[in-house]
């Protein structure tokens, strides 16, 4: 099949990469379900009635899917950077910049996980649900927190690799 789910990593980092890839595919499947709901809703609207609550299911589904994509983006280096300004910088400088970027990624991932845990508690305590199907919003948050935990792990992998990069250049 030629699908390298560990993205060329081994050991613990390889495991994180593997689960991030799988988790992104899970997010992709959620997206496909949203696609199916929308198609059924349009077809249903023609022959009988639209899928009930297609709007709110789309909102929850896409949010859940996108959060599930984030760890894969981090570990596969998909987040765009502007390389043009540092195209001529030395490898040691780049390694230092990568370290800074990895620290930023860890900070952002940690902040999101920390705050959205409280977001989940809020949603649960106040009992927020969607308007039509009465889906509790905290259900979505549960899946999202798994994504964010993975995001923290992937950021830590980036951090570890960046530290190795800096150390490697310091010794070599």
């Amino acid at each position: 099949m030629g699908h390298d789910l560990t993205l060329g990593r081994t050991g613990l980092s390889g495991a994180v990469a593997f689960f991030s890839s799988l988790w992104a595919l899970f997010g992709g499947c959620v997206l496909l379900v949203v696609v199916a709901i929308n198609v059924l809703s349009v077809l249903g609207g023609i022959v009988w009635r639209p899928f009930p609550g297609d709007f709110e299911l789309t909102e929850i589904g896409v949010a859940v899917a996108v959060f599930a994509f984030l760890p894969y983006c981090q570990i596969s280096g998909a987040n765009v950077t502007a390389d043009i300004f540092t195209a001529r910088a030395g490898r040691r400088t780049i390694a230092a910049f990568s370290l800074l970027a990895a620290i930023a990624a860890t900070l952002v991932a940690g902040l999101l996980l920390w705050r959205m845990t409280f977001g989940l508690l809020d949603q649960k305590n106040y009992g927020y649900t969607t308007a039509i199907l009465q889906v509790p919003l905290w259900w979505g948050y549960c899946v999202i927190l798994v994504s964010l935990s993975l995001l923290v792990l992937t950021a830590l992998v980036s951090l570890k690799e960046a530290i190795h990069g800096v150390a490697g250049h310091a010794h070599g």
């Binding site: 099949m1 030629g2 699908h3 890839s21 992104a24 595919l25 997010g27 992709g28 499947c29 997206l31 496909l32 949203v34 696609v35 199916a36 709901i37 929308n38 198609v39 809703s41 349009v42 297609d54 709007f55 789309t58 909102e59 929850i60 896409v62 949010a63 899917a65 996108v66 959060f67 599930a68 994509f69 984030l70 894969y72 983006c73 998909a78 987040n79 765009v80 950077t81 502007a82 390389d83 043009i84 300004f85 540092t86 780049i94 910049f97 800074l100 970027a101 930023a104 990624a105 952002v108 902040l111 999101l112 705050r115 959205m116 977001g119 809020d122 949603q123 979505g140 948050y141 999202i144």
Partner: protein, 451 residues
């Protein structure tokens, strides 16, 4: 540190500095935006906003069309749609001098009508059309230049991911924006084809005539175009006609492209997995930048930088049109350094409020407005102009991504040749921007007609 202008500029300088040292744009925006608000209003406000801000952003209904169009484009790239398009276009245009290059442009436009990204269009059509152009002895400059330029049509012809993002930032109607983009997009196709005609008239040896096809082959190639027209008609026709929202339309598009790929036996299970992974990385990247842009927007509006800048411009007595031209030139310059989507997310939240203030505020009607049109119209018109100029960055040095993509495929053509080949198209685009700037009605007519 008290006045808004120096605070805001400081934040922007830090942001640009972080981006310049290779920090992912999304992370830089989240840190500067979030950190900035923390410094101004204390940490509690941001921390409590962050409980729901990301979920709130990611679950915006209008945005849900973005991953769908991305998936649709990715599937289209793997479903054999591109080669059918090119064959069909070549049947109609191939016999002309420079015709195979014109066919490549037309096929790019067709692919752009299904996909919403320039790079996807350039790389997908490049794979199909480059070998053909080489077979007919097209010069490297013309062959690679047409494809790099043609890729831009992926964004200019709706659906377009950049346009959706613009619509969400400025709170415009996506359907209206898609309608506004159609005529300027078709104009781009016509201009690019004309550019090739002029190019081969001046330098006939760069684009030889193709060979004619026999009738059966011609018919088969033409019939191959039908699925594309059907998909485009059902997706965008349905959106324009108001039969359904963009999200269900895009879902139907995904479904139809998938069926098409299955029927043509081009889409394997492995292709499906790869498509989902491509969708995951593109979508995740875009949404994370969106979160960053939202935090930057909160920071900027707390500081009041756009208002202060607009006030400063008004007091300095510059004509609104001069300001608009300066903004567009700034976008072209920035486009040389950054990808179009990050740029839209980075600068539109700043530029748009300034232009809106110059026009007389959000609720300004055409009468007495700075630009002689209502702010709602200005939003549409400026969006299309901005869309065109940010895309120019894809074909200009030093980071013309489309040029990189095409040159990576055409290893025998030096990159400098590709940049030379793209120049005539760049000029055509400048003329088009000038025309659209001088005659806003070209952009605004279709949205009005559909209303």
């Amino acid at each position: 540190m008290a006045d808004p202008v120096s605070q805001g500029l400081l934040a922007l300088v830090v942001l640009i500095l972080l981006i310049a040292i290779r920090m992912p744009i999304a992370h830089a925006m989240i840190i500067v935006g979030g950190g900035g608000v923390m410094l101004i209003n204390g940490p509690m406000l941001v921390l409590s906003q962050l409980k729901t801000l990301a979920y709130g952003q990611f679950s915006i209904y209008d945005l849900s069309v973005v991953p769908m169009f991305i998936l649709m484009g990715v599937l289209a790239g793997r479903s054999g749609l591109s080669s059918a398009l090119f064959r069909g276009a070549n049947a109609w245009l191939g016999w002309l001098r420079g015709g195979t290059a014109m066919a490549a442009i037309a096929a790019c436009a067709g692919f752009g009508a299904v996909a919403g990204s320039s790079l996807a269009t350039a790389s997908t059509m490049g794979k199909v059309a480059l070998p053909e152009l080489k077979k007919y002895n097209y010069s490297g400059a013309l062959a690679t230049g047409s494809l790099a330029a043609g890729g831009v049509l992926g964004i200019l012809i709706p659906p377009s991911v950049v346009l959706i993002i613009y619509a969400i930032i400025v709170e415009a109607n996506i359907v209206t924006m898609f309608a506004a983009a159609l005529i300027p997009g078709l104009m781009a196709v016509a201009f690019f084809i004309l550019t090739i005609a002029v190019y081969v008239a001046i330098s006939p040896e760069s684009g030889p005539k193709g060979v004619g096809m026999d009738a059966a082959e011609f018919r088969a190639a033409t019939l191959g175009l039908i699925p594309v027209f059907v998909i485009f008609g059902i997706v965008l026709g349905g959106i324009y006609g108001g039969f359904y929202n963009p999200t269900p339309a895009a879902s139907i598009g995904v479904f139809m492209v998938w069926i098409y790929g299955i029927l043509r036996r081009e889409l394997s299970f492995s292709d499906m997995l790869a498509s989902l992974k491509d969708t995951a990385s593109t979508t995740g990247m875009i949404y994370l930048i969106l979160l960053g842009a939202e935090l930057m927007k909160i920071l900027m509006s707390r500081i009041g930088l756009p208002q202060a800048t607009a006030e400063w411009i008004l007091n300095s007595g510059y004509q609104p049109m001069v300001v608009l031209v300066i903004v567009l030139l700034a976008l072209i310059a920035l486009g040389c350094l950054m990808d179009s989507l990050s740029m839209i997310l980075l600068v539109i939240p700043f530029f748009w409020p300034v232009l809106s203030e110059l026009n007389g505020g959000v609720y300004q009607l055409a009468e007495g407005a700075g630009f002689g049109m209502s702010t709602e119209d200005l939003k549409i018109w400026f969006g299309i102009l901005a869309l065109i100029v940010v895309e120019l960055g894809l074909i200009t040095p030093p980071v013309g991504m489309n040029v990189f993509v095409i040159s990576a495929m055409a290893k025998d053509v030096p990159m400098i040749e590709t940049f030379k080949g793209v120049m005539p198209f760049f000029l055509a685009e400048m003329i088009r921007v000038a025309i659209l700037l001088a005659f806003p009605i070209i952009t605004l007519w279709l949205p009005y007609a559909l209303r």
